[in-house]
């Protein structure tokens, strides 16, 4: 077997040294009858590389990948161009096959990268500090809720209707098991929420999303003041990190904690995972922050170096007193994020954001001109909501059958509580720099036909 370097002779010699007659003898602590040979498993035997590749390729070809035609699906994952250098670099053995940098002297590559990641996230979100990544945006949102509960010693979290349905479901589930009350405002396609009506003296945090799931962008300054006036924290979720290049940062608008999905930078869609959870906050909340942190220090010769730090917050030191149970981060995805943002730089991030916004704006105008279609949003970044005037899910399916992935019918999503009638006719459309004018025309034409039918 190609991955196993021991030969029969090696095994015999090693067993001799160990003093065991056979490998099975080393399993003598396994209860009788429970140590099996291969026959006990109704599974295939090993295969050569090209056979496995062929089988996996067959699966890959059984899906319609995003690049196969017009594509407008967003909803928390966005199809952006990732420069070839990013994937090249994260495949370097030294990044790909290293472990968590517990031995900093021989892990400065990973550590300095994480330090740069933390800085980039802090800059983009307008916050003081960021951690070295969490699993994804949805679990980061849940962690933020729990952190707010720890900080405020209150036990209720309010989740706005602008928040991604999946994020809502994750927050409700995770906080629910932790014994925290979760007040979910209904889905809010028209940004009409009066979220403050749900905030009371027991509220630890209000979680909003910007741009919202339906695309709205909001100035959160007033909301932040109102939340703070109630003694609660404002948590802002950002599911499209590219928007931070065009929209005022959550930090500047008064957020206490910013969580986000960083997939847009450096990471492919990959069917939704792995991605990279962003988590940033104010310095004063640092020690209540979950997740890994990388910090600057000096070595025995006085040279600058980086280490994992403040691990007294973490489970491997604090066990049941830890700020979170998180052990694994999104290291490699964070590395990809860091490299892509480094390549873009100030100019690139702002240009990319402007390009996305302009293309989306043009596409919205074009699609709103299709008879029967109404543009729901007065404001948006690169994703907006259309009202088709009829149930959108069947339309989406028929367009998919024609080779066009038109977007998301929100009524079909887990976690999207709200006015079912109002939701049923909506279509959430994302337009990134990879969408061409031809793609928009193709969608407009097909949509016109479907709606005329």
């Amino acid at each position: 077997m190609r991955y196993l370097p021991l030969t029969g002779a090696d095994r015999a010699e090693m067993l001799r040294v160990v003093g065991a007659p056979a490998i099975d003898a080393l399993y003598r602590d396994v209860p009788a009858g429970m140590l099996h040979g291969t026959d006990a498993f109704d599974l295939a035997d090993g295969k050569g590389e090209f056979q496995v590749e062929r089988e996996m390729q067959a699966y890959a070809r059984a899906s319609r990948s995003a690049g196969d035609g017009p594509f407008f699906v967003g909803g928390g994952l966005y199809r952006h161009h990732v420069p070839a250098a990013v994937d090249h670099l994260i495949q370097r053995s030294e990044f790909l096959t290293a472990y968590t940098p517990y031995q900093p002297e021989i892990a400065q590559g990973t550590l300095q990268t994480l330090f740069e990641f933390q800085t980039q996230v802090a800059l983009l979100t307008g916050m003081d500090v960021a951690n070295a990544s969490l699993y994804d945006g949805s679990t980061a949102a849940a962690e933020a809720g729990m952190m707010a509960v720890r900080i405020t010693r209150r036990n209720k979290v309010v989740v706005a209707g602008s928040v991604h349905p999946h994020y809502r479901a994750v927050v409700r589930n995770q906080l629910g098991f932790a014994g925290i009350e979760v007040d979910l405002a209904p889905a809010d396609p028209r940004a009409e929420d009066d979220i403050m009506a749900r905030v009371d003296a027991g509220t630890a945090a209000v979680i909003v999303q910007n741009p919202g799931f339906f695309g709205h962008v909001s100035d959160l300054t007033t909301l932040a003041d109102a939340v703070h006036a109630k003694g609660a924290l404002l948590v802002v979720a950002v599911t499209e990190a590219v928007s931070l290049g065009a929209i005022e940062s959550p930090g500047a608008m008064g957020a206490d904690i910013v969580v986000g999905e960083g997939q847009s930078f450096g990471n492919m869609l990959t069917f939704g995972g792995p991605t990279v959870g962003l988590f940033a906050t104010r310095s004063k909340f640092l020690r209540q922050m979950p997740g890994r942190l990388c910090g600057e220090t000096v070595d025995a010769d006085g040279r600058r170096g980086f280490v994992l730090t403040l691990s007294t917050r973490e489970q491997h030191i604090r066990r049941d007193k830890a700020t979170s149970n998180i052990c694994t981060s999104a290291g490699l995805c964070a590395t990809a994020f860091t490299i892509h943002v480094a390549m873009l730089g100030e100019q690139g991030v702002t240009h990319l954001a402007a390009l996305n916004h302009a293309q989306a704006s043009l596409a919205a105008d074009r699609l709103a001109a299709v008879p029967g279609v109404t543009l729901v949003n007065d404001s948006f970044f690169n994703e907006f909501t259309l009202d088709l005037g009829r149930p959108s899910a069947p339309v989406v399916q028929r367009l998919a059958d024609r080779g066009i992935l038109a977007g998301i019918a929100p009524a079909t999503l887990d976690g999207v509580e709200g006015d079912a009638d109002r939701l049923a006719s909506l279509l959430v459309v994302a337009v990134t720099e990879l969408v061409t004018e031809d793609d928009v025309e193709a969608l407009a034409a097909a949509l016109a036909e479907e709606l005329a039918a």
């Binding site: 991955y3 160990v18 003093g19 080393l26 399993y27 396994v30 498993f41 295969k47 590389e49 496995v52 390729q57 890959a60 070809r61 990948s65 995003a66 994260i90 370097r92 030294e94 790909l96 096959t97 290293a98 472990y99 940098p101 517990y102 031995q103 021989i106 400065q108 590559g109 994480l114 740069e116 999946h166 098991f177 932790a178 962008v217 999905e261 869609l269 069917f271 995972g273 792995p274 000096v298 403040l310 973490e314 489970q315 066990r319 007193k321 979170s324 149970n325 052990c327 694994t328 480094a342 730089g345 100030e346 690139g348 991030v349 990319l352 704006s361 043009l362 007065d378 907006f384 720099e433």
Partner: protein, 488 residues
């Protein structure tokens, strides 16, 4: 050459990514347009590539040498897996596409589920958890949901003191209080101690088997029986499943659920700390409350996304379907090895650990008697009186060209050194490690403490001041004061 931070290399006027011009369009940002600069540095592509190539060269990795981190399972990461994960049908696929357009991805999930359930003997599975600790949480949620469903909500979770820190942390997150129980002299759970701790308010006992001392919990069946007797569930921490995969079915050991670390047992890369993937398998006893996603098959053979058992008693664990990029890698790995290869792999891993344990015992002090499973544990008694600590000993390994073993874990052993070679190291590589460690042990005993205290000397950095880092945390770059002043 030292490599500055990327922020120290930027100059305005450069671009690293060329983009088409922005077309004229109506702004829809309203009043929210960004007002100030972000503060990111501008570099050209060649500079960025060189920066990260140079940084990478400061890392040790499994591809550059043996990485015997106990409990971390640093095995070889096949390159086929990387190629497969990047096939456009997996990498360029969105989970919110219509189900008719994601059949291949669902097929991978279905086949992966099948492999994992057959290997563990379990009845149900969720692929959603993003990592092992997330899987623990999912499993505990199911346990809580099961108790709640039968009107028997419970409070306590019992965890041996040798367990990973994630076990108690996850239990607390799930609303439980945690009780830690000490192990026996031989590094295992004591059935009597456990029984004494059990009671009707105990929701679950969490057990890692093989445990973090690298030993198989030979009383696992008795423990299971005791746990079940009080109406509690038996949670399996599958972090060490790699020692027994293809040989032992955890369901037969009495576990009601168990998470599996795809990045340990099934070779997906660690990537400097993640991403991971932590599917959870469930026995019949918990199948009725297993969380989603759940992939089914329609009459026409197409895959479906089915409703979750128990009416969603355990809700959504994570947005979308889980770590697909890890699923494709793990499935490619399992197909490559097959049941025969997996059987051989676990055996080779155990053989290698025992070989190290026996050979290293010439100079080092094993914490417990064997046989070891996939890893072997030493305490620091062989260093008594040498002035060399476990930390010093580990740092000295760096100068010998090896990554250190896991230090000071598990907590139950003084100055613990936990060594896990895995099955993908050759005998020559194992012998090199043995020679280096024996030589270091002899030098420690010969009074060369100064050398150990000075280690590492041949690494990109000498020992780093972790206390300073924690006392005065610098967690991000900030522009130098004069630059800020100039900008004002």
């Amino acid at each position: 050459l030292e490599e500055p931070l990327i922020f120290e290399q930027g100059t305005p006027g450069r671009i690293g990514v060329d983009l088409p011009p922005v077309p004229a369009a109506t702004s829809r940002l309203g009043g929210t347009a960004r007002k100030g600069a972000i503060g990111l540095p501008d570099l050209a592509e060649p500079q960025v590539v060189r920066h990260f190539v140079r940084l990478s060269q400061k890392n040790y990795s499994i591809d550059s040498g043996l990485f015997p981190l106990g409990s971390c399972t640093m095995k070889y990461n096949p390159r086929l897996n990387e190629k497969v994960a990047r096939m456009p049908g997996f990498a360029d696929l969105h989970p919110l596409q219509p189900v008719s357009t994601i059949q291949g991805a669902l097929g991978v999930m279905a086949e992966l589920s099948d492999w994992l359930m057959r290997l563990t003997g379990m009845a149900e599975i969720t692929l959603a958890p993003a990592a092992g600790a997330h899987g623990e949480l999912a499993g505990l949620m199911a346990i809580r949901a099961a108790h709640v469903a039968r009107g028997d909500a419970r409070k306590r979770v019992i965890v041996p003191d040798s367990a990973h820190g994630t076990n108690p942390a996850s239990a607390v997150l799930c609303g439980y209080t945690v009780e830690s129980i000490p192990g026996t002299e031989d590094g295992r759970v004591d059935v009597a101690t456990l029984k004494a701790a059990l009671g009707p308010d105990v929701a679950a006992v969490m057990l890692t088997n093989p445990n973090t001392c690298g030993l198989f919990e030979r009383d696992v069946r008795a423990i299971a029986d005791a746990v079940h007797e009080v109406g509690a569930y038996f949670y399996g921490d599958g972090a060490n499943f790699n020692a027994i995969v293809g040989r032992v079915k955890p369901a037969e050991l009495g576990f009601d659920c168990m998470h599996i670390n795809l990045h340990k047992t099934f070779s997906t890369p660690h990537g400097g700390g993640g991403p991971g993937s932590g599917p959870v398998v469930f026995a019949e006893s918990l199948a009725h409350v297993a969380p989603g996603p759940r992939i089914g098959k329609a009459d026409d053979g197409s895959y479906t996304v089915d409703a979750v058992p128990g009416g969603g008693a355990v809700g959504r664990l994570k947005a979308f379907f889980g770590q697909m990029g890890m699923f494709t890698r793990a499935l490619a790995y399992m197909k490559s090895l097959g049941r025969d290869g997996l059987h051989t792999a676990s055996g080779d891993a155990v053989l290698a650990a025992n070989y190290l344990m026996v050979r290293l015992s010439d100079e080092m002090s094993p914490a417990f008697d064997g046989p070891a499973m996939h890893e072997c544990l030493f305490d620091d008694s062989f260093l008594d009186g040498t002035g060399v600590s476990t930390l010093d000993f580990a740092k000295a390994m760096i100068d010998e060209g090896f990554h250190p073993m896991t230090m000071y874990f598990p907590l139950v052993v003084h100055g613990a050194m936990l060594i896990e070679p895995t099955e993908t190291e050759s005998k020559q590589a194992l012998d090199q490690l043995v020679d280096a460690l024996l030589s270091l042990a002899r030098r420690a005993k010969a009074g060369e403490a100064a050398m150990f205290h000075a280690a590492p000397r041949y690494a990109p950095r000498r020992r780093l001041d972790e206390t300073l880092a924690a006392r005065k945390p610098i967690l991000r770059w900030t522009p130098p004061v004069d630059a800020r002043a100039a900008a004002e």
